[in-house]
Amino acid sequence: MGAECRRAAELLACRTGALPSEDAARMGAHLAACAACRRVADDQEWAEGALARYPRVPADASRAVALVRGELAARQGVTTRPWWPWAGAAAVAGSAAVALALWVPWAAAPTPGVVKAASLPPAPAGARQSLARPPEPAQVSEHRGETLPATRVAAASSPAAPRRVHHANRRPTHPVVMSGPTVREAGELPLPDPDPEPDRSAPPQPVFAVALRVEGDETGGWAVAVHDPQTGEQFGALCEPAPVQPDLPPAMPQPETVTPDTSAPTRGTSLREWDAGGWT
């Protein structure tokens, strides 16, 4: 499309009869020569006539005004409803939710005096050596709950805690209550006397231990919290269970292998035939 055609397109944008006389004359001359613009003008003229046949929809303006006013009034009745009661309710609900969110961790927090085994430091070297005894797995299940009413217990699965406990030589003098979400059950650690012939003159060491079953520990071990009231030291540890030697039943006799007799006739393989007369 050349410059003349662009000008023609602008002129075609004007409606029929809206062009000045000189523009109309130039337009007619151009249309006689340019087939593309003639087609566009032809389409435009055809559309004017065709769309004029489209029936007009009658519209009552005064009725329309009344309808629009009624619709606006109805909507205003809805939209001008005060919003602040809902805002107040939302604020109350939000503050209640915040208060609940703040209260729940506080309520779940341990009561004063509770020792969290998970937060216990690892056993000091001196304490471990003084309580050392030959390696022997702790048999905690036999003494569970004997004297120590542990109501709420916590895991002692501190990463620094040793995996094996060699010290458990004193019966606890007072209960220790612990809390935590990952412990399944609790009990008293057996505190056998490490020395078969203890020195009666020496004062008993007020060291006690609490055994805690750690949930999720696939080894089935126990966590131990040890507290020394004299020094105020606390430490945690994990003890491994005793290796279980399963009592295997005696070896079962191997069944005899039966070789099927392929020479015998194969008939009578269903229960119905058995009922009828047995297999032969």
Binding site: R53, A61, E71, L72
Partner: protein, 216 residues
């Protein structure tokens, strides 16, 4: 309470009138009808933005018929055109703050109308409604043969309009029925005037081809 200051005495009645206008809606300010009728659309809309209810009534009365017929041509559903127009003018009043004073009013109005028609067509695509015959609106012919022929011609035109793409249909209707310029059509369609002219040309050519195919 003491005597009101001059500033309060001046502003209090205006504030009261403003608050009443906000509460009650359009039509609370009394304006002579003749004063509004002589104003252009943009000036009337500026008065509507100021809370003049009579100006809004004048605006509705001025454009309602055109919007109804625009909606009928855009949707091919004259039974729904009145609903579309009513919704359009309600939207005009509710969104009057978003109208930029001084900008052309008709493109803004038909932009709202076009969007409403699009929403209606989208909804109708999901659940088609029973349509009425547009040929019922035609003046009666001299005989049954002419009547049948006229009905057939109008039916073909309505079907052809429906088959046009929505953009081209809007361009054709705005140019040939609403008598909009291509600049105004471009504002309604959200494109350049050249693109609006192209859409109208293509729509016309497509409509002509569709009707000639149906005739043959």
């Amino acid at each position: 309470m003491g005597q009101a200051s001059p500033a309060e005495a001046l502003t209090a009645p205006r504030l009261r009138a403003w608050s009443i206008a906000r509460r009650v809606g359009p039509g609370t300010r009394r304006v002579p009808a003749g004063a509004v009728a002589a104003l252009p659309d943009e000036a009337v809309m500026a008065r509507v933005q100021g809370g003049c209810g009579a100006s809004f009534d004048a605006l509705v009365a001025r454009h309602y018929g055109t919007v109804v017929n625009f909606a009928a041509r855009m949707t091919g559903r004259r039974d729904l055109a009145a609903d579309v127009a009513q919704h359009v003018f309600v939207t005009v009043y509710e969104q009057r703050r978003r109208y930029r004073p001084g900008s052309p009013f008709r493109p803004w109005l038909y932009c709202i109308a076009r969007r409403r028609c699009q929403a209606l067509l989208r909804r109708e695509r999901r659940s088609p409604l029973v349509e009425l015959e547009d040929a019922d609106l035609l003046p009666g012919g001299s005989g049954p043969a002419e009547e049948a022929e006229r009905r057939e011609a109008v039916g073909a035109l309505v079907r052809g309009m429906r088959q046009l793409p929505e953009r081209e249909r809007a361009a054709v209707v705005l140019f040939h029925y609403v008598q909009c310029s291509y600049e105004a059509i471009a504002q309604v369609l959200g494109c350049s005037p050249g693109a609006a002219r192209t859409a109208a040309c293509r729509g016309r050519a497509r409509l002509r081809r569709l009707l000639s195919e149906e005739d043959s």
